[in-house]
């Protein structure tokens, strides 16, 4: 265990509504989420001296982090926006925890908001540079290319991918804040239309408007301020394939394994110690490969691990207990951290009994980037 383990906590969490939020700009969604996170931590805004913002996927703006600070009325010691796709949420929490531990800052807001549902969806459907002339478009197609290669190397996992979609949809179906509350059965999954074959519609996450924020501070500061339910950050890690699909040495192993190893080492834990997990589910193949790369099962055996309800509530490792990107909101990742916090506080809607350790994975691009977080009690 590393000396940083448990030294920082998530002191508060907040979100906006999810789904369609027409007419809302991303800065105001960030502010709303931050206001809720501060209220949840029961701290004053004046405590915050750092603001780490994940850039909106759908629109790039110069000095975006500073625009959010201006709207929050905060002049931070450290502030800015970070582009790493979905991995950035946990990366920013890790930076915040490190800055807290080294005494650079007292407390940080980490936030994200976007409005691709009612705004601009182009980011997810974009042409891929000079290869667009071959018809190479969209985020989904890159994951389809990876899924096909996974089937080539390890055999068909169609029903396992269905089991992942079914678990997330089951967990989200009773979540009153979830955007898609329709449970899914295997025959419906198998009948789901192709988007980019071998990806089916029900393999693909939602596209959503919304914002989310968390407050990071030291455990000592949380005690001093009387924060009611601080959740210790036990471990974190990051690692990146970084290169585009056609340039990677392998399509089926990302650097997620290294990210997870660092997080487990920092926390002094192993996969068997994890009671509940929030696994980034932009597409079902991402969940399958993350479980394999993290060492929950041998590479290529993810299909056995997710079978028979083992990743559903009551199973060996319940995942995405608020519905994940497939059901709760397509927001790229911070909602998974927030559900992890609820599980560790013991007040999740689908609470895993006696859960002591929650693992959260984030990743971005077409598996370009990866980050891992382990929360405790």
């Amino acid at each position: 265990m590393n000396s940083l383990s448990g030294s920082a906590v998530i002191a508060g969490v907040g979100t906006t509504a999810f789904g369609k939020l027409p007419g809302r700009d991303t800065v105001s969604l960030n502010v709303e989420a931050c206001r809720h996170a501060l209220a949840d931590a029961r701290i004053e805004k004046s405590v915050i001296d750092a603001v780490f913002v994940k850039v909106p996927t759908s629109q790039r703006e110069f000095m975006y982090g500073q625009k959010v600070c201006e709207a929050l009325g905060i002049q931070p010691k450290i502030g800015g926006a970070w582009d790493q796709g979905g991995a950035a949420n946990i990366s920013l929490i890790a930076f915040a925890a490190t800055a807290v531990a080294t005494g650079q800052i007292k407390a940080a807001l980490v936030c994200y908001a976007d409005n691709p549902r009612t705004g601009n969806k182009q980011a997810y459907q974009r042409p891929c540079g000079d290869d667009a002339v071959y018809g190479w478009f969209s985020t989904a197609a890159g994951y389809a290319m990876i899924q096909q290669r996974h089937a080539i190397e390890y055999g068909d996992s169609t029903e396992a991918l269905g089991a992942i979609a079914i678990a997330c949809r089951r967990h989200g179906s009773g979540n009153p804040h979830a955007q898609l509350r329709l449970p899914l059965a295997m025959d419906q999954y198998l009948a789901s239309p192709w988007v980019v074959e071998p990806l089916r519609r029900d393999d693909c996450c939602l596209v959503s408007d919304g914002g989310a924020a968390v407050v990071v501070m030291s455990a000592a500061t949380a005690r001093e301020l009387g924060v009611e339910a601080p959740v210790p950050i036990l471990g974190f890690g990051q690692c990146q394939t970084s290169w585009d699909l056609q340039l990677r040495p392998s399509l089926t192993s990302t650097c997620a394994d290294i990210s997870a190893k660092d997080a487990f080492r920092m926390a002094g834990l192993q996969p068997a110690d994890i009671d509940v997990a929030q696994i980034y589910d932009c597409f079902t193949i991402t969940v399958l490969m993350t479980l394999e790369d993290y060492g929950f099962c041998p590479k290529g055996r993810g299909r056995d691990f997710v079978a028979d309800g083992q990743i559903e509530i009551g199973g060996r490792l319940p995942i995405n207990t608020s519905g994940g990107l497939l059901s709760e909101t397509g927001m790229p990742g911070l909602q998974l951290v927030i559900e992890g916090v609820r599980q560790m506080r013991g007040n999740a809607r689908l609470q895993v009994k006696n859960a002591r350790h929650c693992l959260v994975s984030n990743q971005g691009g077409t598996m370009h980037t990866h980050s891992t977080l382990i929360l405790g009690q």
Partner: protein, 136 residues
């Protein structure tokens, strides 16, 4: 509706000129590294002492997908169509289409494919056909 065309730059121009002559070329550095897409520094040694080399045109299929959704109007009439990832026998990989099997039926991992230059809006493209099949 026209397809989005590649942006030809001083760095990538020799690649497209080579295709016009019926050959696919890649960059080969004195350090031994070979790469595509064109970029002016070797991604292995970061040096600039490289040359263009013509590939044999022989490659193998690494993975592929079949589009059932058109993300651009110009592709709506072509659905379903495949996009493939192939590895040249010289090493570099590229995104392409395998012709003669738009819906991907019959494609198998590792199968041998051969370069076939086809034109879209006067731009030569590096497409591939299954090795041993006759060019249209």
């Amino acid at each position: 509706m026209n397809k989005p065309l590649p942006v030809i730059t001083p760095v990538s121009a020799p690649y497209w000129q080579s295709l016009e002559q019926g050959a696919l070329s890649y960059l080969h550095c004195v350090c031994g590294h070979r790469w595509l897409p064109p970029r002016p520094q070797c991604p292995a040694c970061l040096g600039t002492d490289w040359k263009w080399v013509r590939a044999s045109g022989r490659a193998r299929l690494i993975s592929w997908v079949v589009y059932h959704t058109a993300y651009h109007e110009a592709f709506a009439a072509e659905l379903p169509y495949n996009v493939a990832l192939v590895e040249l026998e010289e090493g570099p990989r590229l995104i392409t289409n395998v012709i003669g099997c738009a819906d991907g039926r019959g494609l198998t991992a590792g199968m041998a494919v051969e370069l076939t230059v086809e034109y879209e809006q006067n731009v030569p493209l590096a497409r591939f056909r299954v090795a041993g099949t006759v060019q249209k």
